[in-house]
Amino acid sequence: MSASAVFILDVKGKPLISRNYKGDVAMSEIEHFMPLLMQREEEGALAPLLSHGQVHFLWIKHSNLYLVATTLKNANASLVYSFLYKTVEVFSEYFKELEEESIRDNFVIVYELLDELMDFGFPQTTDSKILQEYITQQGNKLETGKSRVPPTVTNAVSWRSEGIKYKKNEVFIDVIESVNLLVNANGSVLLSEIVGTIKLKVFLSGMPELRLGLNDRVLFELTGLSGSKNKSVELEDVKFHQCVRLSRFDNDRTISFIPPDGDFELMSYRLSTQVKPLIWIESVIEKFSHSRVEIMVKAKGQFKKQSVANGVEISVPVPSDADSPRFKTSVGSAKYVPEKNVVIWSIKSFPGGKEYLMRAHFGLPSVEKEEVEGRPPIGVKFEIPYFTVSGIQVRYMKIIEKSGYQALPWVRYITQSGDYQLRTS
C-alpha cells in the first residue's frame, strides 16, 4: 500500500540514515538508486519514479539530500510523495534547516521521528507541533507522569492540545494573494491566475471555536446577501487545513474550525479571473552577434495610484557569454548576476500608475559558443501591501471559547508575485 522503507541519502547517494518499515525490500537495493538516477538523467528521461527490477524508488530532493521511499507493491504514489514532503516539513521544524549536517547532528531524534511518523508503511502522526510535545530535543528521563502520549495524538482534534493559556488572546490573519502570470513573446496573456492563502497566527487559550466569514460569492448567494452593495468574490477551488470541517463547508459554506496553536495555513484558493497584470513589462533585447547585446526594459505599474509595490525585482535574461555590463535606469538600481545569467533591476518602491525604464548594454565575445541557448523568460518579484487583487475581504472572525474571553482578530492583506513570467522573443 505504501512505502517499505525510507532512506535519506546525501548528494552522492550514500545513505545517511534509513528506516526499514516492512522488511520486504532488501536494504541494499538502495545502492542501485544513484546509478539509476544518473543514467536516467543522462537519457533525459528523469522522473520522480524509478524502478530497478521489482523495486520502485519514489524520491524527492531537498537541499543536498535525497529522500527516497522504496516499495515492491502498487503503492499509493501520491501518498508517498505527500509523506516525503511532510517529513521534510517536520524535520525542518525540528532542525530549522534540513540538510546533511542537521541529519548527522541529530541521528537519535531522526530515528525517533521516523519511528513515529510512519508504521509499517502507514503514515501516522505527522503534525510537528504535536510531535514536539512528546519527542523533545533533550534526552528525556522517564519519570512518572512525564513523556506521556499527549491525548491529542489520537483525539479527533489531533492538531491542538488542551490547556493552552495566553494572557492576551489574539488572532492574526494574513490574506496573501500570489499572482501567477504567463505572457508570451507577443505580449498576450496566456495564463493569469491568483492563488490566495489565508494564514493564521493563533494565540488563543483553551479550545476556541472559530468561524471565518469571507465575501464568498457562493455564500452570498446562499444567504441572499448578493445585493449590489456587497462585493463578492468567486473562489474557484478552496483547500483547507485539516482542522476545517469540510462537510460543513460543503453544506453551507461555513468555515468553522478549532485552530492549531501558533502559525498555520488555514486555507488556499484559486481564481482564474482575468486581471490586468499588476506590473507590465515591455522589453527589447537586441543581440548583435559577435559584438553586443542591448536591452531595453519598460516597467509599468498597472494598479491603483494609492498603492505602492515594494521590493520590486525584475530579472532579465542575458546570454551566458556576455561581458562588460553597463546600465542606465530611471529609478532603482541594476545589477548583473553572472551565475544566473540575468540582470536584476531592483526598485524599492514602485507606486501605481508609474512607468520606469532601464537600459543595459553588454559586450559579446567575437567567437560564438557552439550550443544554442534557451530563452528564459523575464521574471518579476513584488509585494503590494494593503491590497488584494481579487477583492477578497475578511468580513468577520468569530471566536467562541467556553471561558468566554474576548479575543482580537487582526487582518492584513498582501498581494505578491507568484510565478510571474514574461517570455522573450
Binding site: 528523469l46 524502478s51 501518498l79 495524538v153 513573446a185 513570467q421
Partner: protein, 915 residues
Amino acid sequence: MTVGKDVSALFPDVVNCMQTDNLELKKLVYLYLMNYAKSQPDMAIMAVNTFVKDCEDPNPLIRALAVRTMGCIRVDKITEYLCEPLRKCLKDEDPYVRKTAAVCVAKLHDINAQLVEDQGFLDTLKDLISDSNPMVVANAVAALSEIAESHPSSNLLDLNPQSINKLLTALNECTEWGQIFILDCLANYTPKDDREAQSICERVTPRLSHANSAVVLSAVKVLMKFMEMLSKDLDYYGTLLKKLAPPLVTLLSAEPELQYVALRNINLIVQKRPEILKHEMKVFFVKYNDPIYVKLEKLDIMIRLASQANIAQVLAELKEYATEVDVDFVRKAVRAIGRCAIKVEQSAERCVSTLLDLIQTKVNYVVQEAIVVIKDIFRKYPNKYESVIATLCENLDSLDEPEARAAMIWIVGEYAERIDNADELLESFLEGFHDESTQVQLQLLTAIVKLFLKKPTETQELVQQVLSLATQDSDNPDLRDRGYIYWRLLSTDPVAAKEVVLAEKPLISEETDLIEPTLLDELICYIGTLASVYHKPPSAFVEGGRGVVHKSLPPRTASSESTESPETAPAGAPSGEQPDVIPTQGDLLGDLLNLDLGPPVSGPPLATTSVQMGAVDLLGGGLDSLIGGPNFVAPPAAAVPANLGASMGSGLSDLFDLTSGVGTLSGSYVVPKAVWLPAMKAKGLEISGTFTRQVGSISMDLQLTNKALQVMTDFAIQFNRNSFGLAPAAPLQVHAPLSPNQTVEISLPLNTVGSVMKMEPLNNLQVAVKNNIDVFYFSTLYPLHILFVEDGKMEAVSSRLQGSNIFTVAKRNVEAQDMLYQSLKLTNGIWVLAELRIQPGNPSFTVRLPAPALPALGCLLPCAGQPLLPSLLPRAGVSLMGALAQLGWGPSEPDVNEHQNSEPSFQLSPIRLPR
C-alpha cells in the same frame, strides 16, 4: 548510524540495557533489536521478557513502543510470544496503543498468516472498524486492506452499507493519512445501485477541498469509479463533473513530484471523461522552469484536450515549444503538431504551415521530426498538401535518422508521378542500400516498385536493381520475402500488381495512442498509485500473485444494461446485427483501422484473429499437416501479450489489443451472435446467440425471434450432457408471450455442474428448446475461453490476455526465440499449459502442449502432446489474407504515432504489402 559496521557482536550487552527507564535509550535499544534480531535469532529470545513486561507498562507510550517494535522483529520464535501482549494491546484503553496494535496485526500477518488467523486477530481487527476513535478505525482499515491485498481470496473487507457508513463517518474525523486509507478502501467497494453510489459520492466530495494532494487524488479515484454507475442524465452527474475540474487543476500547483503523479492521472481521466477538463487547456501550458517530466506530460495532455475551439492557442504554444533548446521536448512538440493535424481536421492546414515554418529553421532534428509527421498528415489527408513536397525535398540531404529517411522515401514513392526527378532521388538512396536500416530498405523497395508502376518506361533498370539487391544480396528475410513477392507479382500479372501496390490506402485514424478501454478502466481504479503513473496494470510490475487482483469499474446498474463505457458506445455496434462471423472486406478493413478507437463488438475482431491464424496456417510450413487434424479447439494462443518487446512491433500489438479490447468491461471476449436455429427448422422460432463470460459467471445470451403467425409461450431449455458439464443455472425466463415478429433478448446464466460426457468436437453443445408449439433441437460450438476461470493465472505479465483469462506464466528468450508459457484453467479445474514460440523474422508461431505435465488433459484431448495449431477459425484466414493482399494493404499501421516503429519489425506476414 553504525557507519556501515556490523555491531551484532554486541547483542547481549545491548539487550542488557533494555530495562532502562530512559526512554530515548530504550528506543535506541529497540532500534538495535529490529536491525539485528534476524541475524541472532537465538539471542533475540532474551529480549522477549522485557517486551512482554513493557507491554504492560503504565505508560501507554511504552506499551505502544513495545508492541510496535515486536512486530518489526521478523523472527518466528518471537512472534509466538507476541500473541498475548498483542491481544491485550488490541483491547487497550488508550487509543494510541490500540492504533499501534492494529498495525501490528498486519505486521504479524506478513510474518505468519496462519498464526494470525488461528489466534482470531482478524476478527478483533474487524471489530476495531467500529472503534470510537477515528485514528484507530483508520489504522484498522489500513491493516485490513493490506492483508486483503496480499490474500485476495480471504474476503476480509466484507464491505456492506453499514460498514461503509461507519467508514464515511470516520472519514470526517481522522487525520489526512487516515482519510487516504479510508478512501482507498472505499474505492474497492461496489455499491449495489446508483442511489447508493450517489450518496457515497456526496459524502466523499468535500474531501476534494483537502489541502493534501494525496487525499484529493484518492477522493477523485472513488468519484471516478462510482460515477460509472450514475446515469448521465442525472443532474447530480453533471454537478459532480463540474466539481472535479477545479481540484484537478489545483493539483498542478503542488510540488513537482505530486504534479507529475497528478498529470499522469489527469491523462487517464481525460481519456475516460474528456468533458471534465475540456475548458482547462491553459493550465497545461508549459512553464520555463517546469521539470522536463512535467513538461512532457503537460504536452501530452494538451494534445488530448485539443479541439477546434482551442486549436489556435495550442498551435501557437506548440510552435513556441518547438523552438526551445531541450531536444527531447522539442521533438515531442513537433510530433504534437502532427497529432493535432490528424486529430482536428480543421486545423490541418495551419499545422502544415507551422511545420513548414519549422522546417525553414533548418535545425536538423526539427526538420527530421517534421518530415515524419508530415508523412502522417499525407496519409490522413491524401492529395491535399502535396505542394509542400518541394520544400521537403530540399532537406533530403540533411536527413540522417532512419525514421525520417523512411518517411521521406515513402513520400517520394507515393507521389512519384508529381515529382519529376523521383527516380533520381530514389536512385541516390539506393547507392548505400546495404548501409541503410531495414526500415529504410523496405521503404525504398516499396517506393521504387511504386515508381516503376507509375512510370514503367524510365525506371525498369532501377526496379531490377532494387529487386536484386533485396532478394539476392540481403540476409534479411523480411526484405527478401517482400522483394520476391513484388518480383513475382510484377512478372506474372502487372495489372494485378498495380492493383495491389497502388491500391487506395485506407485513411489512418486520429487518436491512436489512447489506452485501450479495458486497461483504462482498470487504471481508473488505481488512480494515485504506481499503476496510474506507469500506465500499466499492477500485475505488470508487482511480482507474484500478491496484490494483483484485477479491478474493474462497476457496471452501470439501474438505468441501462449496457456495460459499454460511454466512449466506446458509438464504435461498438450492438451485437446480433451481424449474422456472419466473417464480415465483408470493407468492414474488416475499417475496423482494423479503428482498432484503437474503440472495441468493435461484432464480427470484425474475430475475423482479425483469423487473419492472425491465417498467417500461421499459410506459413506454418510443417504445421500444415496438422490443420484439420485435431478437433480440439485450442485457445487463441496466437494472441500473445502485445508488449513482447520491440521486435514484435506495434502493428501486431494492435491486433492483439482486440483480444482484450472487445466486449464487456470485464474484459472477456465475446463472439458475435450467430443464428443457431433458423426459423424454418423450428416452426417460426429463430434462435441466435452467443456465450459470454463476465466476472466469473458464464452466460448464454439468446435472442429469440418469433417469425411465425402465432404467439409463443411456455419456453424451456435443456442441455445434453457435454464435455464440461455446462448446464443452465436458472430456467429460461421469457416473461411475456412472444407475439409474432417480436424479438426478446435473454441472458441465461450457466454453471458447470451438469453431468459430463465427452463430445466430438470437444466444445459441442446440444440444446433442446421447448415452447408451446414443439420441442426443437440444435447444437452449437461454444468458445472454449468462456470456461477459463479467473484464478487460472500463474503469474502476471500481460493484462491483455488476462481479459480472456489466458495468463502468461513465463517469458524467456532462448536462442533468439521468444518463448511464452501460457496457462489457463478450465471450469472443471483442468490446467492447460501451452508453450508459444515466436521467432523474430519468422511469421509462424508454434504452440505446443507439453503432455507429461498434463495427464488429466491427456485423456481428454485426442491430440495432446502433439503440436497444436491455434485454430479458432483457420479457414477463414486464408481468404482474408487474399483479400488483404488485393487491397494492397497488410494488417498494419492502425497507428499513426507508432507505425514508424512497426515498420521494420512487423513480421506477421511476408506478403504484407506497401502502403
